[in-house]
């Protein structure tokens, strides 16, 4: 069983995504939601860092939060899975613990 890490703040605003990437154990899952979805987008200052972390972590991003911010699911970094609220619940249930980075 692995841990699910959730990040709900923009990497431009807080350093929670960077802390999460630094401290999450290999094999863990990371779900980006609310303003955290900004960390899942292509061509930002943080895209490269997230792409590099994908060799050790599996990434998910909440689709409704992408749409709300006028962003496109097509511009999500390759390899990050776009999920909905039902998937969010499943992810929570599938992992043995949830670490919410605040």
């Amino acid at each position: 069983m692995t841990m699910l890490h959730t990040v709900n703040k923009s990497p431009f605003e807080r350093n929670t995504l960077e802390s999460c990437l630094r401290l999450a154990k290999k094999g863990s899952a990371v779900l980006l939601f609310e303003d955290g979805v900004i960390g899942a987008m292509q061509n930002t200052k943080f895209s490269e860092k997230v792409s590099q972390a994908m060799s050790d972590l599996s990434f998910y991003v909440l689709g409704p939060d992408i749409k709300a911010r006028g962003l496109s699911e097509k511009k999500v970094i390759d390899g990050i899975k776009v999920v909905d609220y039902n998937d969010f619940v499943d992810l929570t249930a599938e992992h043995n613990a949830v670490q919410s980075w605040l």
Binding site: D65, K67, A68, R69, G70
Partner: protein, 139 residues
């Protein structure tokens, strides 16, 4: 403190947060619309994550929150027609002006011609713009 009627001050609303994740963007918009009634010289600045407030095609159906992005296009009717977006903030986020909604106003001094009110400005220009303000309100 000048409180005499007729004094027009330069007010700048500094918007630096993404919409919906926090209440700042909506609160700023509310305050701007209230302040518009006082006939002051108003500028709006969108920098850092604030640039996400102006993205087009925002769709909040999936998060159960009110989509207030349409309200920005009404700012022109309140004589708010100086809206500045920092170029470097867009670039750091892989965004361009094409990702933002078009904002215009009707110029009463020019036969109500429709004119652009959204300006992408560089860091140096923005620095000068902030420096010349009487009041800067941060959101």
């Amino acid at each position: 403190m000048e409180t005499a009627e007729g004094v027009v001050k330069k007010f700048c609303y500094m918007n630096r947060k993404a919409p919906y994740g926090t209440i700042y963007a909506l609160e700023s918009l509310e305050v701007v619309l209230i302040a518009a009634a006082f006939d002051q010289d108003i500028s709006l600045v969108f920098a850092d994550d604030g640039v996400y407030q102006l993205t087009k095609d925002q769709d909040t159906d999936g998060i159960g929150m009110k989509n207030f992005s349409k309200t920005y296009s009404a700012l022109g009717d309140y004589d708010i027609n100086k809206i500045y977006v920092e170029k470097e903030s867009l670039e750091e986020r892989g965004l361009s002006v094409d990702d933002l909604q078009a904002l215009t106003y009707e110029d009463e001094d020019d036969d109500w011609a429709e004119k652009n009110s959204l300006f992408v400005v560089g860091r140096e220009e923005l620095t000068a713009l902030i420096d010349e303000q009487d009041v800067v309100l941060s959101f």
